[in-house]
Amino acid sequence: MAARQPRVGLFATCLVDLFRPSVGFASAKLLQDAGCEVHVPVAQTCCGQPAYNSGDRADTRAIAEQVIEAFEGFDFVVAPSGSCASMLKKHYPGLFAGDAAWEGRAQRFSDKCHELVSFLTDVMMVRDTGASLDAKITYHDSCSGLRELGIKDQPRKLLANVRGLELQEMKDSDVCCGFGGTFCIKYSDISNAIVTKKVVNIDASGADMLLAGDVGCLMNMAGKLKRQGSSVEVRHVAEVLAGMTSQPPIAGSGK
């Protein structure tokens, strides 16, 4: 362990910033409990994925430069989202390929970036966050975190040590929920067909709470569950791991 506390820049992500500040506070608490010094730079907006996945390279790069400038001074950059963390870690370097001034800088930045839960388990070696919650939960593996960053066991290991919590795996927990960023607006009907299948699996799991590591996917699934009158509550995994569940769940509680 380093003598001083690792300095972590918390990249809150735009959806947490706008829709779900609880996740930001929960992330900060988890990082602090793990021994990190947490900073939240004001010069953050979004990781740039909406532009990146719409083919707008110029705006993506402008946003990426801004994120790198705001965060490269920290020991680590942590985001409570597999999708945004993967954007920073896996996709930023490619934006600067062949640019002598930026290429190395983007790569060094990329090396510091982590998704929250895997950072806690794999870098800070956290085994138990000390939380307890009486609930039967099911866990959705969001695509980018799962397939680009290999996040699968990490949240389950930490959840296993939450007192009172029982994990009920759903069928096809690793299948896309149909969110896909702008996809869910551009191809609304197809997105609906995909999330409809997901919600069937969530309901069939018998869990009374759905957790995942990405607010985008959670908003999509919560929105569908509530539209269908389900009483399943939806939260970001960080809220449960931090023991911060006093806020109403995403999209509210009840039917």
Partner: protein, 478 residues
């Protein structure tokens, strides 16, 4: 077939409410995925084989000209004839000439996506030659006047009741009261009908899964043996294959074969793997008198050296579509192109241009499951994104989307302005959300709220709330 990719949204909307189709698509999810998973898990070196397979094809693509010339020399040496076809039209003309020269009236066909790509059946029919598809799935869709909805399971969009209806409609020479209630009886009837056609055919046309440069051999894999009958019973065997099917050696072929069937159907090997080298030799018991290979480019050489080159590694196993949530939702026909699913979303714009096909690479959640199962490790989402970039550069994307994106990007690039805008907007939206904490509908968010509620923001933004908390912490110290 006519390219209808620009109608993707409308076709998808129809597919989503097609009860029969949705029932059939359930089989794709149930059937292929578990079988592939089992087959991959049973082979410890599966992932290492995928790396090998990728490396073999990368090597071929880096030296494609050399291997093609070597292949042609070997085919010629074994008594076959290679025809070079730069375009689909060239390939159609060459095949027709071979058939006409032989005085052919009917040709049998093994399953071949390349002949779909060049629309060979229509061309032969228009010139008085009857093409007969011999793969069961292909035969069924030929009876229905349809195109394949899947590259290895062309009739996967159909249910057995629909097939029974088609057989009763077309096979009118058979007794009306016969039992066609299960797949086995359907298969038996197709086999009986097709058997007569093999003997009557003058030419047999197949595709190729591999063309081996070392030996001048073409290889097909099938599960029904129809390909073997097609290519051995006719007087002439015509192979139609695209240039990237080349592999250097027999050893390379066996390496890739080990990942092909496992990825496709979860079999260790397909039931039949058939190697064809040249026409019948003097002491061969059977085989065709003539062996032709039509080598099709049709836009592929233009992909070499571009960001789409990796697509040429594709061995057409279908794993990407078998695992695609969008394909599961809408099926193959909605894509309006010969090649559906993720591989089609990359290949179709490469072959047909992005102008008419832009919908395809956009209709993906980028969930990455296709890349995760691709035996050739083709980075499909990355290449779909490259197509979106080409589209965006050329201003081909819809105006509303572009303006919306530019409006958002203007703020996203200016953190101070962004903070100002969201610090007013978000709390306001939160208040409107009320006690239910969600919206059933919201102006400008119809794309979202048509199908699901929109969770309301909690209150202030995280950065506002964080700054306030930090300020409070500082106060006692001051």
């Amino acid at each position: 077939m006519e390219l209808a990719a620009k109608h993707f949204k409308a076709s998808a909307a129809k597919a989503l409410v097609d009860v029969q189709l949705q029932k059939a698509l359930g089989n794709v999810e149930k059937g292929f995925i578990g079988k592939r998973q089992k087959a991959a898990a049973a082979l410890p070196e599966f992932d290492a084989l995928r790396d090998n397979a990728r490396d073999i094809k990368n090597h071929v693509l880096a030296h494609l000209d050399l291997y093609l010339e070597e292949y042609e020399r070997k085919v010629t040496a074994s008594g076959g004839i290679v025809h070079w076809a730069e375009t689909a039209e060239d390939a159609r003309r060459i095949v027709l000439e071979i058939c006409q020269k032989a005085g052919a009236r009917t040709v049998t066909k093994g399953k071949s996506m390349i002949t779909e790509e060049i629309a060979l059946n229509d061309h032969l029919s228009a010139n008085g030659i009857e093409p007969v598809e011999t793969d069961l799935g292909e035969y069924i869709i030929q009876l229905r006047g349809e195109h394949p909805s899947h590259i290895i399971a062309p009739a996967v969009h159909l249910n057995k009741e629909q097939v029974e209806g088609d057989f009763r409609r077309v096979h009118t020479h058979l007794p009306e009261g016969r039992d066609l209630s299960d797949p086995v009886s359907l298969l038996g009837e197709a086999r009986e009908v097709l058997r007569q056609r093999y003997f009557a055919a003058d030419v047999g046309i197949t595709g190729a899964n591999f063309l081996i440069a070392e030996t001048g051999t073409s290889v097909i894999v099938t599960n029904e043996g129809n390909g073997d009958l097609t290519q051995t019973l006719g007087k002439i065997h015509v192979v139609v294959a695209s240039i990237e099917k080349i592999v250097p050696t027999l050893e390379d072929t066996s390496q890739i074969l080990r990942v092909l069937a496992r990825s496709a159907t979860g079999q260790d090997m397909s039931v039949y793997t058939t190697f064809s080298t040249g026409p019948k030799r003097a002491d061969d018991p059977d085989g065709p008198d003539q062996y032709h290979v039509v080598l099709l480019d049709n836009g592929r050489s233009a992909m070499l050296g571009t960001e789409y080159q990796d697509m040429l590694r594709c061995i057409r196993c279908g794993a990407c579509m078998n695992h695609c949530p969008v394909y599961h939702a809408v099926g193959g026909h909605a894509y309006g192109s010969v090649y559906p699913g993720p591989m089609g979303a990359v290949l179709t714009p490469s072959l047909n241009g992005i102008e008419e096909t832009g919908q395809l690479p956009n209709a993906s959640t980028f969930c990455g499951r296709c890349e995760a199962v691709c035996p050739m490790r083709i980075p499909l989402p990355k290449m779909m994104r490259h197509w979106r970039e080409r589209e965006f550069e050329r201003n081909l994307t819809p105006l509303t989307g572009r303006y919306g994106l530019k409006f958002w990007a203007f703020f996203a690039k200016r953190p101070k302005l962004y903070r100002l805008a969201v610090s007013f907007g978000v709390p306001l939206l939160s208040v409107f959300g009320g006690s239910s904490k969600r919206f059933r509908s919201l102006p400008f968010a119809g794309g979202w709220t048509r199908h699901r509620d929109l969770p309301a923001p909690e209150g202030r933004t995280f950065l506002q709330a964080w700054a306030q908390r930090e300020a409070l912490k500082q106060e006692p110290a001051q």
